[in-house]
């Protein structure tokens, strides 16, 4: 749900990073946090376990600048990827404007990627969204891993609607901003449709 405030001339958009456990969702947001201009970023809130697994969500507010005189602010969230946190994942999708699916390129994780997309479809539906039409980006993360599957093979398995597909190495920042931008573009163009 985009919140457009004509009084303070602000637009707030909620973007959710989704994907299986350990695929690199939190790493994406951390990298954005570390490299963002200090005036542009808010606090990074991470509700995590003692072993740094996301327990409820990570949250990062980002001020992006202005479009047509409106301040654009992104609220980035990650979900907990571990299968048994499904109830929390569903809650975090509430009112989202766009989803970034972070896939783990390692071959042994392919099944987990597929399951996680199916889970995303279900949880979006329960929140009144359609995975076929919501702003959506596919990120192939961990391209640096020796066991990474070829991109075209992953494309066949995971890409289902001609969505932007971006290769990434999140801990080095490769592809991270590009991914966010691909999602932001779709959200802003969606606003245009009214």
């Amino acid at each position: 749900m985009t919140f457009i405030n004509y009084a303070s001339r602000e637009i707030n958009c909620k973007i959710v990073y989704y994907g299986p456990g350990l695929c690199g969702k939190t790493t994406n947001i951390q990298w954005i946090y570390e490299q963002a201009n200090p005036e542009k970023k808010g606090k990074l809130v991470s509700l995590a376990t003692e072993t740094d697994r996301t327990l409820f969500f990570d949250f990062l507010p980002l001020d992006m600048g202005t479009v047509k005189g409106f301040k654009v602010r992104f609220h980035l969230y990650t979900v907990p990827g571990q299968v048994f946190y499904d109830a929390s994942r569903k809650l975090i999708l509430r009112g989202c404007d766009g989803v970034i699916f972070v896939a783990d390129s390692q071959r042994p994780r392919m099944e987990a990627n597929i399951e996680s997309i199916a889970n995303l479809a279900t949880n979006l539906k329960e929140n009144g969204f359609d995975i076929r039409s919501i702003p959506y980006v596919l990120q192939l993360n961990k391209r640096d891993m020796p066991s990474a599957a070829p991109a075209d093979e992953m494309e066949r398995l995971l890409r289902f609607r001609n969505e932007p597909m971006i290769e990434a190495v999140a801990n080095r920042g490769t592809g991270v901003i590009e991914t966010l931008k691909a999602c932001a573009r779709q959200i802003l163009l969606e606003l245009q449709k009214g």
Binding site: F3, S8, G194
Partner: protein, 165 residues
Amino acid sequence: MAKLDLVMYEEEYKALQDIIGRLQRDAQAKVVFLVDKNGQQIAAAGDVRSIDATSLASLTAGNVAATDGLAKLIGEKEFSLLFHEGEKDNLHISIVGKRGILVVIFDQNSSLALVRLRVKKASRELQEIFDKVEIRAQSESGGSARFESPFSEITDEDIDKLFGD
């Protein structure tokens, strides 16, 4: 998607802000926030700078969402109120209508009873505004928006500029 958007105009925003400001004074609270159920801040009053409002909004929404989940699990529709008592400051969280959350932070200068009383009154008033916003949104989705959408001609360059290239 557009139908779900929350679009707020100047006078509605001002009306909300007035109610929040009055609540903060009448309840003798330190700060009052009005937050959207999705974690976005709508309005605030009081000593706002003492708190990271953006994180507060997001965590409050997470808290309410989790509590909603708990309510459904045990067969309740929702819990309309959360209260967290601290050593100095207390947090009073209540639901307003379908999409609003009211957060009141207060210390020993006030009391739970006073906060409750004032919140009740303010909630009714806020509810009226939210209803108006919704009715207006519905009538506008039929066609004639009052303002031309400012986003009718976003270009790729506009988007590139946001990312500083």
